[in-house]
């Protein structure tokens, strides 16, 4: 049994609303899985089901080979970290860490050992005697992680743990969580709506929408070969350019342009003739001297420039459709100028216009 968590045919309904539909998911030992989606997609609900905080309508949940579908949350061998930290405000940090253990009647020495280890790992030893109100947001979240850590379990669940922190702290703690995972080698399931968090932390990402998993794959796969138009548009910032046209043989015809799709890996061989959407990320459009190597080249007129420092976004039109290009921050462009751009079809994505599935 190499899977740490297995979810089989899971359904969850609130009254007549189907929140989760026939979900199947296998998470390997030591894997870092991120559940990613916009709000209301069911990602937090799924996490609560795994934790046992919600009763499922149908299906099973296995953790470490045990069927825990009917088990209490505390018996499932999980630790959980919440968005609001959910620390017990009237207890010291030490009290927060030890309360569950004392309640489980663990020996005092064992409790002390576990707290010592957890506070060393998280560097919260100086805070042990303080109350949560006297801690900063980042420190609180560390204590919350510590509370999961002392439970000495194999599976950690994170429910948007960094959403209440400001941008700088979020980036710092993200790195720490990643380091923690590398050191502990626990299974971690992490819910977020932040794609940067998902991409940086995950071994695999599950993109959820409408209570179903749209795509499950490594960050690379999700980014490079999105399974459908939704995933393609959801991942990546600025978001992918979509051009509606037709595929004819190996040519994508779009307005008066015809883009050869040489080098593109079709999922089920190339279709003959159908309405298709071409997706190309702004950062995959080349400019300057690199254009020469691109299989397809054309000219666009610069409409709007958004410099961000590290790079510059150029808004233009490609055969009448809005189109964005990402250039180096140092590149010199001005509005109204004609810009030569090049596309590489092997890095693009094609979707069926009706089904929105990847071709």
């Amino acid at each position: 049994m190499n899977n740490s968590v297995e979810i089989k045919n899971l359904d969850l309904e609130f009254g007549s609303v189907k929140v989760l539909q026939n979900l199947n998911l296998e998470i390997g030992k030591g894997e870092f899985l991120v559940l990613l989606g916009s709000s209301g997609c069911g990602k937090s609900t799924l996490l609560n089901c795994i934790a046992g905080l919600l009763d499922v309508t149908a299906g099973q949940i296995h953790i470490n080979g045990n069927n825990v579908t009917w088990s209490e949350p505390s018996e499932r061998g999980i630790g959980m970290v919440f968005q609001s930290y959910a620390l017990y405000p009237q207890m010291t940090v030490e009290g927060n860490l030890s309360f569950g253990l004392k309640n489980a009647k663990l020996p005092k020495t064992e409790i002390a050992q576990r707290i010592k280890r957890a506070s060393e790992v998280l560097q919260i030893e100086p805070l042990l005697k303080r109350k949560p109100a006297a801690l900063s947001g980042g420190q609180r979240q560390r204590v919350a992680i510590g509370r999961a850590l002392v439970r000495d379990v194999d599976v950690f669940l994170f429910d948007e743990p960094l959403s209440n922190l400001d941008a700088k702290l979020r980036a710092d703690l993200r790195v720490e969580i990643k380091r923690l995972h590398q050191n502990l080698e626990n299974t971690m399931i992490y819910v977020t709506h932040d794609q940067i968090e998902a991409m940086t932390l995950a071994d695999r990402i599950a993109i959820m929408r409408g209570g179903q998993i749209m795509q499950l794959g490594t960050p690379d796969e999700i980014y490079g070969q999105p399974i459908n138009k939704y995933v393609a548009g959801f991942i990546g910032s600025p978001s992918m350019n979509f051009l509606d046209g037709r595929i004819k043989g190996r040519e994508f015809e779009f307005g008066d342009l015809s883009i050869p799709m040489t080098g593109y890996n079709f999922v089920n061989g190339s279709p003959t003739d159908s309405e298709t959407t071409l997706g190309i990320r702004p950062e995959h459009v080349v400019t300057g001297e690199l254009v020469g190597n691109a299989p397809f080249q054309t000219d666009v007129t610069v409409g709007l420039i958004e410099p961000t420092g590290s790079d510059t976004l150029v808004d233009c039109e490609l055969a009448g459709t809005p189109f964005r290009v990402r250039m180096d921050g140092q590149a010199k462009v001005s509005v109204g100028e004609t810009l030569r751009i090049g596309l590489n079809p092997s890095r693009a994505s094609l979707f069926d216009k009706q089904t929105e599935l990847r071709l």
Partner: protein, 297 residues
């Protein structure tokens, strides 16, 4: 500096005019009225207030009057029982209602409606239910328990508990509503965290949730205590202070002295003692609640 600016006094003129009723009430009625009563409690006022100083005479007489001592004793018994029971009942009811029960609105409506009724109505209806000839006592006796005796309104020893039953009926709904609001204000994720930690529900309430509700408890405490000290209408309607003087309370003593016995000085002294009692509760609370925030700005 102030060139061309209207003088300080006339800035915000409309706001100041609008605030006149508040200023008058605060200064003349609340501060002035209270000070007046306290001052006149040191005088020999009878039918009419007179500035004839008698020092602490009124207080000495007050504390040697049997009726006042009984009033104080009643207030303490009633107050302590009320305080403990209203919190226990109010909290338990709130916790039960918070269990995602069905018919929540119905239950809440039934428990709170007595609070909408006046103390006079409350007192009269309980006077009727506790009537020994027709009420609870006669029913239990009618069921075959001939020796059963429960006539709090006719038995001086337990009369104050008859009032307590009515007071609890009227006031526990309020505490329940406040506690329920407090429970609903507790972060749901804390409950989830406690379940993951394997803490049983009763322990979560005692060690985590109740400590988190401290502000609600304190506010409720202040409300309940000030309500207890003011208790008057309920007694007048339910027992009229009797049998004998067994259910007399300070507020009734004040009224009777001022408006029946033409002994204003006693009334002033007694009401000043009531003020003192409330101050003993409210001032520490105010320091706790607002004292800290002044330092923070």
């Amino acid at each position: 500096m102030s060139n061309g600016r209207p003088s300080q006094l006339f800035r915000n003129k409309s706001a100041k005019i609008a605030a006149i009723p508040m200023i008058v009430t605060a200064l003349f009625v609340f501060v002035g009225g209270t000070a007046w009563t306290v001052v006149y409690s040191f005088t020999k006022s009878g039918l009419l207030p007179r500035l004839k100083w008698v020092g602490l005479d009124q207080y000495e007489r007050l504390w040697s009057t049997n009726r006042w001592l009984v009033s104080i004793e009643n207030l303490i018994i009633y107050g302590l029982c009320m305080l403990v029971l209203v919190f226990v009942i109010g909290f338990i009811l709130a916790a039960l209602i918070d269990q995602k029960i069905r018919f929540e609105n119905t239950v809440r409506t039934i428990i709170l409606y007595p609070y909408a009724l006046s103390f006079v109505v409350t007192g009269l209806v309980w006077q009727w239910i506790l009537n020994p000839d027709f009420g609870i006592q006669s029913i239990v006796q009618g069921l075959g328990w001939e020796s059963f005796a429960f006539d709090p309104l006719y038995n001086a020893d337990i009369a104050i508990f008859g009032v307590l039953i009515a007071g609890l009926w009227q006031g526990s709904g309020l505490v329940m509503v406040l506690m329920l609001a407090g429970l609903r204000g507790v972060d749901q994720e804390v409950w989830k965290a406690a379940r993951i930690d394997g803490i049983p529900a009763w322990k979560t309430y005692i060690f985590i949730v109740i400590p988190m509700m401290r502000p609600v408890f304190i506010t409720t405490l202040v409300l309940v205590v000030t309500g207890i000290v003011k208790i008057y209408d309920l007694i007048v309607a339910q027992t009229g202070g009797g049998p004998g003087v067994s259910t007399e309370v300070p507020a009734k003593y004040v009224y009777d002295m001022m408006f029946r016995a033409n002994n204003l000085g006693q009334g002033f002294a007694a009401s000043t003692m009531m003020l003192l009692t409330v101050a003993l509760v409210v001032i520490p609370w105010a320091i706790l609640e607002f004292g800290g925030s002044k330092n923070r700005g």
